[in-house]
């Protein structure tokens, strides 16, 4: 059954898949951060994803960034998130321009929002885990809403 994007269920499904692939994520190592994902559109959505040791232990939709202490937030228009996930689905992994780092670096197609540089640096400290997490959508049936 297709899962709607954006939705809490979408990220919960990725969290479930992360748990199912525990060996892969244990090899990547401890990952401790609270990441925000903002999907911008007519109605914008903000999700707080808590990564804890080897799992994504909590996914919530929040109304304001201040509701949860986020280390950093990846913010992009809905269309860009869709392009990223479609690129992952096409090749099993993102094409070079669609990795989380590439999207959020020069050109700022995806914005990295943060108050504290310590929180910001966690994006890079856990990059391989966060990339592997979004790559878990490679064979997920998605309904774009």
């Amino acid at each position: 059954m297709a899962i709607k994007f954006p939705s809490v269920e979408f990220f919960q499904e990725l969290a479930r898949r992360m748990e199912a692939k525990s060996a892969e994520f244990e090899k990547l190592g401890f990952c401790d951060t609270v990441m925000g994902v903002r999907v911008e559109g007519d109605t914008s959505h903000l999700y707080a994803l808590t990564f804890d040791v080897f799992e994504c232990s909590n996914v919530r939709e929040i109304s304001h960034a201040g509701d949860v202490e986020l280390d950093f937030t990846l913010a992009a228009p809905r269309a860009l998130w869709r392009e990223m996930f479609e690129s992952i689905q096409k090749h099993g992994q993102p094409e070079p321009g669609y990795t989380l780092n590439s999207l959020s670096h020069v050109g700022d197609r995806m914005e990295v929002v943060y108050d504290d540089p310590e929180g910001h640096d966690k994006f890079y400290r856990f990059m391989a885990t966060l990339q592997a997490f979004v790559d878990l959508a490679s064979d997920l049936e998605i309904e774009w809403v």
Binding site: F30, D32, N101, H105, P117, E118, H120, K122, A128
Partner: protein, 376 residues
């Protein structure tokens, strides 16, 4: 041999007699005379196993050790029972004050480093290299970049190694963390060497300016100066350079390589930031010295923007050498240099040195350099 101990135990008759006695089964259990009270160790999170922070209890805890370690000058771990008098040898540690080396959350950086190790030989998808065609000029530019990065990694291995034995052994977590950094940096030098050679081009020109800049890191007068130069300033810049390199990587193989190295680099930057913060919070009188040092270090660092590196980044950023490619490459390089400097100021701010933004020569130097490239 340059160290002859005050006692030659091999010819010491008391010692030899005692050993003979022990071997006959006459144990006196003197080493249990001053045992400490039992400690209660609790694994706070079973998924993490037994963490260093779980072992921060009683006399073993850094919180309970004095700001300046005076009793131990040897190799005893924090919490061990020292011999009476001055029997423990003096190994001459020069970093005996917590503020000399300590950083907030250093135990957790150790755990993170240990759990996030990776292997160049097996974790980079080298087998995929044949799948991609890389234009010659792009491959050459990439190998030039790998050459500079290899030089950078050498100094990043040597700086922590140089200071480790100067640290009092009570600061075991910092010594441990910088040992993980040595391994991380050795791995980075390995990955850049292997990648430069993998497609047959090999390593290109070593950098004169770059190496002068890196020498400044190694020659810092104190560990804190070396750390702020390497961890906060240098590695902060290199972290952004790795991000940029991932962005301009010719294929997913190099992207994977940079995703993995940037994780280690960000961890080193985080420790450096926490050491600087700890230092500024607990030893504010050092501010003028650190500022004076950074005035010079920031000038030094511009050596890393040497022409060979800039040109290779421009070719990679623009994905070629046609005028349009070069124009695009200049834009990409200009954008990431601006980011490097801004992110450095943010970290300095967070560590308690907001004045870097006003006193730093970096912005002016950047403007002059970008202006020069654009003019050419």
């Amino acid at each position: 041999m340059s160290y002859y101990g005050s006692t030659d135990f091999s010819y010491n008759s008391d010692f030899n007699l005692r050993i003979r006695d022990i071997k006959k089964g006459n144990l006196d259990f003197g080493w249990l005379d001053n045992t400490r009270d039992k400690v209660e160790i609790r694994r706070r999170d079973a998924r993490r196993g037994l963490a260093l922070s779980d072992c921060e209890v009683g006399p073993y805890s850094i919180e309970n050790s004095p700001e300046i370690v005076r009793d131990n000058r040897g190799l005893a771990p924090r919490g061990a029972i020292l011999a009476e008098g001055s029997d423990q040898p003096d190994l001459g540690p020069t970093l005996n004050r917590k503020t000399d080396v300590w950083g907030y959350r250093v135990q957790s950086y150790w755990e993170e480093a240990m759990s996030r190790q990776w292997n160049v030989t097996t974790d980079v998808p080298w087998q995929d290299m044949d799948k991609y065609e890389i234009p010659d000029e792009v491959e050459l530019a990439f190998c030039q970049l790998c050459t500079l990065l290899s030089e950078v990694e050498m100094i990043a291995t040597d700086l922590p190694a140089k200071w480790s034995h100067h640290m009092n052994s009570y600061f075991q977590e910092v010594k441990g963390f910088i040992a993980t950094q040595c391994v991380d940096e050795a791995r980075h030098a390995e990955v850049f060497r292997k990648r430069a050679l993998a497609n047959g081009v090999g390593l290109l020109r070593a950098s004169v300016r770059g190496e002068h800049a890196l020498k400044g890191i190694l020659e810092a007068d104190s560990y804190s100066e070396g750390s702020v130069f390497l961890h906060v300033l240098g590695e902060g810049f290199i972290l952004t350079l790795f991000r940029s390199s991932e962005f301009i990587s010719p294929t997913p193989v190099e992207q994977r390589m940079f995703q993995l190295v940037m994780q280690d680099e960000a961890r080193h930057v985080s420790y450096g930031l926490q050491h600087l913060r700890y230092l500024m919070d607990n030893c504010p009188e050092i501010r003028p010295q650190i500022n004076g040092f950074l005035d010079e270090a920031e000038r030094h660092l511009t050596g890393l923007f040497n022409p060979d590196q800039l040109e290779s980044m421009i070719v990679l950023g623009g994905k070629g050498t046609s005028p349009e490619c070069i124009k695009r490459g200049i834009e990409v390089v200009g954008a990431f240099q601006g980011k490097q400097i801004q992110e450095y100021f943010q970290r300095a701010d967070r560590a308690g040195l907001p004045e870097r933004r006003d006193r730093s020569p970096l912005l002016e130097l950047q403007e002059r350099m970008i202006g020069m490239i654009q003019a050419s």
